[in-house]
């Protein structure tokens, strides 16, 4: 009996040490679903021996909510859009990065090192960057759209067959650009004008859609949608009649970035993960599979030219991209924006 008890105690103790040891080597990554090639984590573990677990979030706001509620505990690397990376930094929830642990930053375009939201990449590393524009069925729209107004005040052909992005920052982008305002405006009157316009537009929409708009284009349910360039590509891949264009009023420059949480207990492993992503062949593989531009010159230079032809957004140069205003954290104006977007989406 005594012996049995002892054996059980040893077994329990061993089990504890075993979990402790593996926990030490395990990082938790939160990313949008399907925003990384599925094999990436397995390959990373195979090479580095570091266990990596993926947790998914549907929106920036969702992961912000989780991280601000828990102080970031339980997460090591977060994939968020740059305004949210900025907010995490201001809240003290993002760790300062040690560039000596991320030597592959040498592969980046010089422009990518000096992004307005984080010059010198002190707390965030861009994962992908791009534009927001008009994605449409060139075979069915009649005249091809060139302006945000083609979406905001649709003609009879496309009326009721348009979608807009539901995430609040991008929901506002078309209206602000068409009115000639900054996409980061904190001014109440400008936000109010954009709101009025968007409430009118809402009556002509098929739906707000962040995730399946390209399949609505493929099925013909939608003819013209507001889209992030890479997501339009998923439509183009299925139907070459789908095209992407940047509206003449411009686009935002968005950057999705990786942030290491300040609460992470495995910062070295987290930075090793970022460094792994930045390898030319890994980051290129991201571009080839997710069809977003990546800020990694070494990766982009190796892309198949046929891919650039099929997906023209991939050919936009960093210099062209940086002409657009980057989406920034709104700070105090966020309250006004949140309330405004609630008012738009709630107007029945």
């Amino acid at each position: 009996m005594q012996k049995h008890l002892f054996g059980a105690a040893v077994a329990v103790a061993l089990a504890f040490t075993a979990t402790a040891a593996s926990a030490q080597e395990k990082i938790v990554i939160s990313n949008w679903d399907a925003y990384m090639p599925p094999e990436l984590l397995a390959n990373f573990t195979k090479e580095t021996g570091i266990q990596a677990e993926l947790s998914v979030h549907a929106t920036n706001e969702e992961i912000m909510g989780k991280v601000t509620a828990s102080g970031g505990k339980g997460y090591d690397v977060l994939f968020v859009s740059s305004p949210f990376a900025e907010a995490l930094h201001k809240l003290g929830l993002a760790a300062d990065l040690d560039h000596s642990k991320i030597p592959n930053l040498k592969n980046f375009y010089p422009e990518a090192m000096q992004l307005p939201h984080d010059p010198g990449l002190k707390f965030s590393v861009p994962y992908s960057w791009g534009t927001t524009g008009l994605c449409y069925r060139s075979d069915k729209v009649g005249t091809e759209p060139t302006s945000w107004n083609d979406l905001l005040k649709p003609n009879d052909t496309v009326k009721g067959k348009t979608t807009m992005l539901a995430t609040d920052r991008w929901l506002m982008v078309p209206a602000l650009l068409s009115l000639g305002y900054s996409i980061n405006t904190p001014k109440e009157d400008e936000v109010a004008k954009a709101k009025d316009l968007l409430i009118e537009t809402k009556k002509t929409l098929l739906a707000y859609d962040d995730t399946t708009f390209y399949s609505k284009l493929v099925s013909g349910e939608a003819l013209l949608v507001e889209a992030w360039d890479g997501w339009c590509n998923y439509g183009i891949a299925e139907n070459p009649a789908i095209k992407y264009t940047i509206a003449k009023e411009g686009s935002d420059m968005w950057v999705d970035a990786m942030v290491v949480t300040a609460a992470s207990e495995h910062k070295d492993a987290a930075q090793a993960f970022i460094n792994y992503i930045l390898r030319p062949e890994v980051h290129r593989w991201v571009a080839e599979n997710i069809l977003y531009k990546v800020p990694n010159k070494a990766a982009m230079d190796g892309l198949d030219p046929a891919l650039l032809k099929q997906y023209p957004n991939l050919a936009i140069t960093p210099a062209e991209l940086l002409k657009f205003e980057q989406m920034r954290d709104l700070g105090d104006a966020q309250k006004l924006w949140s309330k405004t977007v609630t008012e738009i989406t709630s107007s029945n």
């Binding site: 706001e61 539901a166 739906a207 099925s219 989406t345 029945n348």
Partner: protein, 284 residues
Amino acid sequence: MMPSRRLLLLGPGLAWLTALLILPCALIFVLGFFERGVYGGIDYTFTTENFARAVDPLYAGIFLYSARIALTAVVFSLLIGYPAAYCIAKQPKRRQMPLLILVMMPFWSNYLIRTYAWIVLLNREGLINSAFANLGIIAEPLPLLYNDFAIVVGLVYGYVPFMILALYSSISKLGPELNEASTDLGADGLRTFLRITLPLTLPGIAAGSVFVFVLSIGNFVTPDLLGGGKRTMLGNLIYDQFLTARDWPFGATLAFLLVALMMLLLTLQAVFVHRAGGNQEARA
């Protein structure tokens, strides 16, 4: 001896209710009196602004709209559920259980997946539209999806089993004696139904209706998927405050108001059932 023993028996239930229902509701209520922080946290500054904002015409409109949709769902659930429940209750006993299991069968798969299935059925190129188009009934696809119609269809589909179960338990309690007596006294089938069966099953109707109403008004998946995110119901509004706008205090205010409404309805329903029960006993 007796009171302490009663307390002992009640204890676990009361502790459960206190920890998991009363305390959270109290927390939600209190949270409604604070301000939203710049980054979505909570600023512990006292304010009644959230409650004032909740009665703003915009939000009051969402409330009324949600109530209207939920009420429509109740009416259709009742119209579909009553005959079904009546039919099941009048079957021989051995057949009732398999039929009830069939009613519950949809719960074997996830609500989200079942809601997605309606998108496949209702969209412009979906099964219903293509079938109608192939039969030459319609030239242009019908707008079946991303509107109120789709939301009501989704809600009725999802919650009709609750209605059927509530009605079944009420109808199956009726013996054949009253019907026979009514017929013997010369009433036809319709009159018997309207004067005997319907009044006696009112508690079941009330229970089923409150279930469907309460589940519908707080639902956010169906308006999001079948309404195309364009139609905001109370559930979506609360969801958005917590997960999109990150305005927890305002979300808490709305959630508290919804809980208060549900409690009111459930209490009214309980009082009603109690009264109806009392009347029946008095008559007997």
